[in-house]
Symmetry: none
Subunit: 406 residues, 2 copies
């Protein structure tokens, strides 16, 4: 099966957003063993979109669109597609009910019901993160899959529903396992796996760099899922052995979830004290449902005043070593645990920039403090990137220090 | 002049890299008043690239390519283009000398000289950050500009040389202003602006839904920037009037920055107390450089224990009304201010789900507390989405309540 990805939206052609959807879908289709021959982006324009459908299906047996499924005037993907396939749009009651539930307690904008208009005979892909369902249509061996534009709606819909739909169309299944690595750059991961990657046939191995971590996707093709998993298992095993202890989790599991599960298993409770990350570590933890079992409390002590008042960090210590120092990181971690009654205190203090750097303490310098079982350790990192990349990487590094210590 | 951007490279179709070049070039062309009608990406494949050139020039008078200019076997853009324009490749001595200088002191890989092969009669764009020069070709009013793939080579080459080349060909500029709206959904924004949107010619008006807010982009085309801004101003004015007080900022300004500036101007200081958002409000504030002037402290009191111990929320109040209640939100805000010595306390408590909802208190229900100038108010919201959307929206709603009160 050969595919074209067709992203729809004037904001793409104006350069207001980078077309990350096409990259995401390309990776996903590669994982299904489907070759992508072309990416195309067109604006919210009836004529040009219709022409794009025609030319896409000249070469591809599968076309996946993102964008233009919303309820507003410039959301035209659905109607142009229905026209191309010669179908009428009709109200899909189940989707309509879903939308009504989604707006429960709030007034439902009438136009939003238009999200539930589906071409006759099309298959509906549920949208668990928005109002516009996805749509699959087929004719003469041509498959069209329409997904919403917002990545937080599109990505889970593809992974959970569109991929399952496509698996039924291919005679072999493609199964992927993604190992998530922290504490190594993409190049060092790749060099350590170079021989495996070069020798790869089935399963295939592909590393991807993210902000703060690296993902290694192992994909096997087989007649059934069980056989594919059996092909993947020894490769995953070998990668764990080579990259251990840097592999922190798999697939959708965020680092915070791995850490929360470790803490639950060991009956630990945690308090975090954050300066430059300003609540980001706590927020990563609270993003995981069920964190209440282990998270006692978080202290956002961005100001020295708060470090002193809330965490009893001695003013003299800050004067002597500076707020960004291993000594202050250690005091923050110790006192966060003590004040909150948690068994573990995790702290971070650093220079996120763009201002505030010096030759001795440049932007990107962070100190992490960890107080556990009565012992306190600190770690120094020199992180790179802009203010928010530095904050994101620092929060992950702090959680990773905790993970490794458990 | 209408343009198509044609990015060349199999790594794009595999999803190994996100196609940021197309977004960069789209912005650059918009700034030159050139409308981009299409983005296309194809692999390093002779037949498909040749077909892509042909179909691009069917609709566009300008085609800009990135990628495939290097010296390796799979760098074919230059030769396919020369073939399409019926030109021979010949050695461009000046470019060859530049490459030799560039490798001064290092052995020059023979293949690198192939970077200096240029189609007859083409104009050369110097590459100040790499070996492969850019190329401009013209025939029958069709313009082809070929740029290298690596962004650090492509971007300066476009800005310094390609843009100058194109300015000679055009006579207008595009200018955009984006108004950012919170407290209204995309559909209500659109219905309030429907007549303006329908009547739009120049400037154009387009709303885009984001998680928690809506952006309205106004774009004008004119002979010069000043004239374009003059066309945009009255439209922006009208939108401010209609959507006030929901417009919180413009262009790159996040809501947190708007609020921080308001607080600075009024010499206020802020403490935040967060339950379901778990540090997200604080993190949004700390994401803005210079927030230290106003942010006294943040309390992540996800557990009732922490609400009681840190913020002196009476246990009886939690027992009587529940942790998710206006009473508890009010107590959290008041005591956050009191404990930290800030002039303003902002709090949030809610049910982020997926568990913990009840018929009376469903998932998505949040209460915001705001203590300012000795007065405490609370707001109730029913937010929608998954756990993280609910947390993201709640954090923005809390900051918006503060914004409106200042």
């Amino acid at each position: 099966m050969t595919a074209e990805i067709l992203t729809v939206g004037t904001e793409i052609l104006l350069g207001n957003i980078v077309n990350a959807n096409a990259a995401f879908l390309s990776q996903g289709l590669a994982g299904l063993g489907i070759s992508v021959f072309k990416h195309t982006s067109v604006g919210d324009n009836h004529g040009r979109l219709a022409a794009a459908f025609a030319s896409a299906f000249e070469n591809a047996s599968l076309v996946i669109t993102t964008g233009g499924l919303g309820p507003t005037q410039d959301d035209i993907t659905k109607s142009v597609a229905a026209e191309y396939f010669g179908r009428e749009l009709e109200m899909h009651e189940e989707s309509r009910q879903k939308i009504i539930q989604r707006f429960a307690g709030r007034t439902l904008p009438e136009s939003v019901e238009r999200n539930a208009l589906i071409p006759q005979g099309a298959e509906v892909l549920p949208n668990e993160n928005g109002s516009a369902p996805g749509i699959c249509m087929e004719r003469d061996g041509k498959i069209l899959i329409m997904l919403p534009g917002p990545p937080h709606e599109m990505q889970p819909m593809f992974t959970k529903y569109a991929a399952a739909f496509l698996r039924k169309k291919t005679d072999s299944v493609f199964v992927s396992r993604t190992l998530k690595i922290i504490g190594m750059g993409e190049t060092s991961v790749e060099s350590q796996l170079r021989d495996l990657i070069d020798a790869q046939t089935n399963p295939t191995i592909a590393p991807y760099a993210k902000v703060g971590d690296v993902h290694v996707r192992i994909t096997a093709s087989a007649p059934d899922e069980k056989t594919a998993q059996a092909l993947i298992a020894p490769v995953a095993e070998e990668i764990y052995t080579r990259l251990n202890p840097c592999v922190y989790g798999e697939d959708e599991t965020p680092l915070a979830e791995t850490v929360i599960n470790q803490l639950k298993n060991k009956n630990h409770t945690l308090a975090v004290a954050e300066s430059c990350t300003g609540g980001l570590i706590a927020s990563n933890l609270v993003a995981v449902s069920g964190c209440s079992a282990i998270l006692k409390e978080g202290f956002v002590t961005y100001s020295n005043e708060a470090k002193i008042a809330r965490l009893s960090v001695p003013e003299s210590l800050i004067k002597e070593h500076g707020a960004v120092s291993p000594e202050v990181a250690a005091a923050m971690a110790e006192n966060a645990a003590k004040v909150s009654g948690a068994t573990i205190g995790l702290s971070i203090t650093g220079i996120a920039g763009p201002e505030g750097g010096t030759p001795e303490k440049p932007v990107g310098l962070v100190y992490i403090g960890l107080h556990i079982n009565g012992q306190t350790q600190t770690a120094q990192h020199k992180t790179i990137g802009n203010r928010n990349e530095i904050r994101t990487r620092s929060a992950l590094l702090a959680l990773d220090l905790l993970r490794r210590s458990l």
